[in-house]
Subunit: 205 residues, 2 copies
DNA sequence: GTCTATACAAGGATAGAC
DNA sequence: GTCTATCCTTGTATAGAC
């Protein structure tokens, strides 16, 4: 944690993420990664027995990064709410290759799947809490249970798939990110009060 | 088109789709497919030079199926609108393996990508037209351009990713489909008039 | 602890015999 | 139209050098 030499393990993880993000996880071989790092494939195997272990390490780091960002706050504002998404989407972008292989990843590795679902329950709870707070503060109108669920689901799906959507739309640069934060803002706009609308429209510019 | 023997080519496509849907495109090898069909790998190569050619054939068929379903209708009703999505999602489910590899697929094969984007423009146009029709008929409230775009984008993203989402949620059976049709209905509910709300709430049961 | 060399099975793809 | 033989690349595993 100071001026220490970066460990081989750390080098592997860092470079793997770069190559994965550039070329896609499926298209980066262990040998290719090794060659790029001026070492032999077997050496990577020493630190990470399988390629999946590298991916799991990356997934774990993404999760930690997001835990730091998505927290329950009392009396949240519209800007605060959107700010959380902006920070979370920055983390998503940093680990973007993971999102493109997401469904396959979860299906393959049940350990990851279970952790993910547990965190998702917390995330849902946090976002629900924040939305209710925005209703209470008069920025969003009163919503039925069904409406709240629909809104939540659309926000969650935007968050899960914005990277995939950006790839499909051929606009996968880092600037595409704000488009999807604005999509979340737009979803709030659909159920905003006059008071909330004014603020959201400011954020949408 | 009659009592003709099913061509080898047709057998390959049909069985490939089944195996792809069951195991995932990436996890079905050409040899495995061949063995399942009681033929040799090289024979499949004769009909489809590469595995991608099989996938492209499947993608083309999905597109044709959806072209039959998603058409511009004058004076559409809420039920008619949701019915289109139900039929489209049935087609999606039929070719579900494609959706799980979708972003990678488009990135790899520019030919497919171009066709897809052209069709998407038409689809967007069609849905926008229908939403405006529902506004005019007094089922949805007046929407600003931004609001209409947001609504459209969420509907499009639901359609693109509902299969991936179902996989993530571990509920990828055919019955999961209606959950996402209802999500589309729910999105309409957020901007429905009292008149529209009554109809949508009926559809949501 | 760190790394190299090497082997193996499985995948996509090709050329050419029948 | 069908199939064999073969090539190259992957992911993975292991034996052993430093």
């Amino acid at each position: 944690m100071s001026k220490e030499k970066i460990s081989t393990r750390e080098k592997i993880v860092a470079r793997a993420l770069e190559l994965f993000n550039d070329q896609g996880i499926e298209y980066v071989g262990v040998r290719e990664l090794a060659k790029d790092l001026d070492m032999k494939g077997g050496n990577i195997t020493y630190y990470f027995p399988t390629k999946d272990d590298i991916i799991l390490e990356l997934a774990s780091r993404l999760s930690e990064d997001n835990n730091r960002v998505i927290v329950k706050k009392e009396d949240i504002t519209i800007q605060g709410f959107l700010n959380i998404f902006e920070q979370a989407y920055q983390n998503h972008y940093k680990y973007r290759s993971l999102f493109l292989s997401f469904p396959n990843l979860l299906k393959q590795t049940p350990a990851l799947s279970e952790k993910y679902h547990q965190r998702q329950l917390l995330r849902r709870d946090t976002i629900t809490h924040q939305l209710k707070s925005l209703i209470k503060s008069g920025h969003l109108r009163e919503l039925s249970t069904v409406e709240l669920d629909v809104l939540l689901k659309s926000i969650v799906m935007t968050s899960r798939f914005w990277i995939s959507d950006a790839v499909i739309e051929n606009s996968s640069g880092p600037d595409a990110m704000m488009k999807y934060v604005k999509q979340v803002a737009g979803l709030l706009l659909l159920v905003a009060t006059a008071k909330g609308r004014k603020i959201i429209e400011g954020a949408l510019k």
